[in-house]
């Protein structure tokens, strides 16, 4: 039986002539928490499907993100920049990192880009941020149209309100989203070395930039 009984109906007392049968009841422990689901990685990027943005301020953070694109490759990799390194990499962008879930409960991190000091905001970024605001209260999908993001609201019945309680803490989401090597904490990080033209580290060297 489930750990959390359904509070919809008052429980009925078992009649006396069924007492002996009632005494036979054993908990088959089918719904116990013997096993649990854990995320091992979380995508970072704009949502591709209908989604909801977690309205809890604890699940968003002003950050700086560098997106690394290798010439000739479609894939790109996101790096989040720790406080001491913010402002060091010109290619990095300020953004608000928000937490998004799809209807199956799977989370992702969505970086909402912000202009740098003195830089003009652009329509794509503005519309993405306003879409995220809409997604805090409704299931919406991003639709790219004429250099801006529009939102398309899901029809009734698409999904119920998300169960935010299932989400790991935000720091854990960031760790899962970017990976240990996806956080730039100092200038010894291999991407920083690459960006500034430093020679690559010797093979077998300590590549862990987090220590």
């Amino acid at each position: 039986m489930a750990d959390n009984p359904i509070p919809l109906k008052p429980k009925k007392a078992v009649p006396e002539d069924a007492d002996d049968l009632n005494a036979l009841w054993l908990d088959p422990a089918l719904g116990d928490g013997l096993v649990d689901v854990h995320y091992h990685n979380i995508p970072v990027g704009k949502p591709k499907d209908f989604c909801r943005v977690n309205p809890d301020p604890a699940y968003r953070r002003l950050s700086e993100i560098y997106t690394h694109k290798v010439e000739g490759q479609i894939d790109e990799q996101n790096f989040i920049i720790a406080k001491p390194m913010q402002g060091v990499i010109e290619e990095a962008r300020r953004c608000t990192l928000v937490t998004v879930v799809y209807r199956d409960g799977s989370p992702r991190l969505w970086p909402l880009k912000l202009p740098k000091d003195g830089e003009r905001d652009n329509e794509a970024w503005i519309s993405a941020r306003s879409a995220a605001k809409v997604a805090m209260g409704k299931w919406v999908k991003l639709v790219w149209q004429r250099r801006t993001y529009m939102t398309r609201e899901a029809l009734p019945g698409y999904a119920p309100e998300p169960d935010w309680s299932k989400l790991p803490p935000f720091d854990e989401l960031v760790r899962l989203g970017f990976g240990e090597s996806g956080i730039i904490r100092d200038k010894d990080h291999r991407i920083v070395l690459d960006l500034f033209g430093a020679p690559p580290k010797k093979a077998g060297g300590d590549d862990d930039d987090l220590s």
């Binding site: 069924a18 009841w25 054993l26 089918l30 719904g31 013997l34 096993v35 199956d104």
Partner: protein, 602 residues
Amino acid sequence: MTMIYRNWQELPFPEIWTADGEYYPGKGKANGGVDGDPITPHCFVAHEMRSGRTIRLHQRELCASVFPPYRLDADALLVTYMATAEFGVHIAKGWGQPACALDAYVEFRHYANDGAVKAQDRDEGFYSLAGALRYFCEPELDTARKTDMRDRILRGPPFTAEEEQAHLDYCEDDTRALARALPHIVPTIRSLPHALFRAKFQWAMAQAERRGVPMDSRGLARIRQHWAGVQLDLVAEIDSAFGIYEIVDGKPHWRKDNFKAYIRRNGMSWPCYENGTLDETDQTFRDMAGKYPQIEPLRELRYSLSKLRLNDLQVGSDGRNRTLLGAYGTKTARNAPSNSKYVFGPAKWLRFLITPAPGQVLIHRDYCQQEVRIAAVLSGDAELLKACESGDVYLGIAGQLGFISESITPAELKAVRTLFKTVVLGIQYGLGALSLAIRTGISLYEAGEILARLRARFRVFEDWTKRVADRAGLDLEISTPLGWIMQCPPGINPRTVRNFPIQATGAEILHVACVLAERRGIRLVAPVHDAIMAEAPLEHAEDVSNALDRVMRDAAAVVLRGYELPTDVQMVRPGQRYFDERGEAMWNTINRLISKREAQTA
């Protein structure tokens, strides 16, 4: 509570009796008795395992005995194999119910309840007493002699003195064989109180088997008389739109080539085997009838012609359908009566032959959407239970998922309900998008979307089913609130595991309901999956109907820790027939064809 007795001698009973009885139907088959008649006890042997005392009663002694040859109080344990038989003798003799009984068949079946093994993979007779002895490496029974003896006994009297003696010897052999099997079975019993409860349910089944389901025997005789001709008429009427059958020597034959041509002609996609032959199993026909509703009459015709053996339907001389109800005959402990011998088999139109005896009423009560409610309660999914409480769970869920708009027409609403009935029943065992699309005729995309919406909406239930599978994988077994266990070895079909808690809990609710009904003096005549049919004098119809509702609600409250399940009722009064919407069209067609034949003959 869950103490295991390693040795049968440790069982907490001063006396342990193994017993076996033999009987024949009515006056015996040689004297006009037929399968389906109430049994007449022929001989009975009981063996007390501690003292070694054996009591043999031949028919004359049985007739004279007002009391059973053993005590019925809680100081004695009665052990039988397939207890409904010996309980049938008890009921026929008016001996009463033993306080403590053990059905070694049920316990052996429970012990060998492997979820990865299909019923057809077991050797024939695996669950018989001979099979149990073989399993435990005990000297086997002479099954050929057993068959001869059974056949002779079924023919009925007169019996010579030598025959009576031989029958008693044979009966004693079985009793002693059971005494050899019991020491192996006792250590496999996880909980004695639960085993005793299972035997109590067998008592309720024995009562129902004895009473039987009252039928319109004249109506049945009429159908049987014309059945051969009606089959040809059915083919002429229904198959004309399909052109599959061919009549050879006055008998209809299914032609695979014609069916293949029909499929091609109508541009239908049909599952086929690697060698290119079409899959023509009943299950595939049922699935494909969802996608192509136009083949439903053909499916029904095909079933009626190939599977329905009207003469196998066991109806006694008193017009009552009596057959073995096959308690604990499945992995989930649901009953598994013979499809052809029991009136509640798959041919729904036959149920229209059920009619009460004069002055009596039949009360058929079934749990409303039992399985989905059980799923909601077991998983603790309040959203799912809310859908159940909305009145119609199928429409409730369809509404929650956004499939019912304000402008929906009644016809569309009916179609949505049909679709969601398949969906809701399917999610319990993990129906996939492809199967859903095939069964309902919707696109694969739509099927995927419905399932995704369901998973999102009822995520508590979804999470629970995953935990059930994980738990079964860790424990290598899965159990129910009243202790019915299914082994879950590696390689078991995950759907079997997923479906088990719901089906087995449903079975247990019915078990408790039947036991309670007997205690409260309700005359059960048939258990029907998640329903019970009872019989009562016409003047007490409402009282008994209410009492049966109370019984079924109480039973659910026992198994589901206080949650009652509502029931629906169909009352069949004198002169009325049992009604089942699913068989109505076929019933009307068959009756029309018979009337036509009778008119032609006249």
